[in-house]
Amino acid sequence: MERKEWPLWEVFVRSRNGLDHKHCGSVHAPDAKLALQVARDVYTRRQEGVSLWVVQADHIVASDPDAKPELFDPAEDKIYRHPTFYQLPDEVNHM
């Protein structure tokens, strides 16, 4: 079937050096080069970024929302991974 609509790209912006790229929205563009340019024109008009990533939306592999229990619930009881699990005397509690 003939594709008439430009593909969708997800846009990630690094707001300043030292920070991660963060998803900020999407654009339609015919190819990667123009996707970057229009992402710049749409999402960095107010100095929101110093670096951009674009990824064609159908190249993103996402976890299944129905698999939440088996993927994410098992981490629930591993509370010993968190620093607050350990009660230390006040004098050394900044550890």
Binding site: H28, Q37, R45
Partner: protein, 255 residues
């Protein structure tokens, strides 16, 4: 202050730069709400905003150099047609997306070279404006150039439209490089280059892109346009009538 020392040629040179930005910015703003896709609507408005910003700085500067108390708006809205010194190319109607993009590419490639040279202008304010504007011109040339390639090497229709746009606009680019006494004076004073010096470098920028776009560059003809000398096309009067209407209808009002 050096204001009294400023030559009329220097003022005219700055005005010409300001008018280019003003008139092309005005043309590009006509696209707002009417572009082929939303993404491109945003891009065209950004380019227009860059140019209006350049026009404000340049006209303000020209007004100060002139020393007659005219501000950016008096210069933008209250001159008569022969006193505008923009390139004719800037005032031509948008027509369609192909003509708009081919024009932006031809013009911003020229601006890239010009701003680069003006960054070392003996006029410090002009050098500062150039340092800011060159970044904008680089992006405009990139974006418009990428579009010229896509239109030229796209469908049969887009190729025909891009070629038609190039055929129509190319003769107007001769005006970029036409020698003028103003340029000679300004170049001698170290304010900026004579535009005629930039032709070879400009061709080196635009010809490879036009080739990649599979477009045929028209041969040079005897056609000449004279906007930068104050003699404009028929389109200019209509553009000014629209742009100036508020200032002309309500003289002296604050907005």
């Amino acid at each position: 202050m050096t204001q009294q020392m400023t030559s009329p040629e220097h003022i005219e040179y700055v005005l010409r730069l300001g008018d280019n930005a003003l008139i092309l910015g005005q043309r590009l703003s006509e696209w707002c709400g009417h572009a082929p896709v939303l993404e491109e609507d945003m891009a065209l408005a950004n380019m227009s905003l860059d140019l209006i910003g350049q026009a404000r700085m340049l006209l303000t500067h020209a007004g100060r150099l002139e020393g007659r108390g005219r501000d950016e708006d008096q210069l933008a809205f209250l001159r008569t047609e022969p006193n505008y010194r923009n390139l004719t190319l800037c005032e031509l109607p948008n027509q369609d997306f192909a003509r708009t993009m081919v024009r932006n590419f031809l013009y911003s490639s020229f601006q890239k070279l010009l701003w680069e040279r003006l960054m070392t202008s003996s006029d410090a304010e002009l050098a500062a404006i150039a340092a800011k504007s060159i970044k904008e011109a680089r992006y405009h040339a990139q974006h418009a150039g990428d579009w010229v390639i896509r239109l030229g090497d796209g469908t049969a229709e887009s190729h025909a439209r891009a070629q038609g746009a190039l055929d129509y606009l190319w003769p107007y680019t001769a005006e970029f490089f036409a020698a003028t006494p103003v340029d000679d004076t300004v170049a001698a004073a170290g304010v900026g280059p004579a535009w005629s010096e930039l032709e070879t470098a400009w061709e080196a920028l635009v010809l490879p892109v036009l080739a990649e776009a599979t477009l045929t560059v028209p041969a040079r003809t005897p056609f000449r346009s004279y906007g930068k000398f104050g003699r404009h096309s028929e389109h200019m009067g209509h553009l000014l009538a629209e742009m100036q209407i508020m200032q002309r209808t309500y003289p002296g009002a604050q907005w």
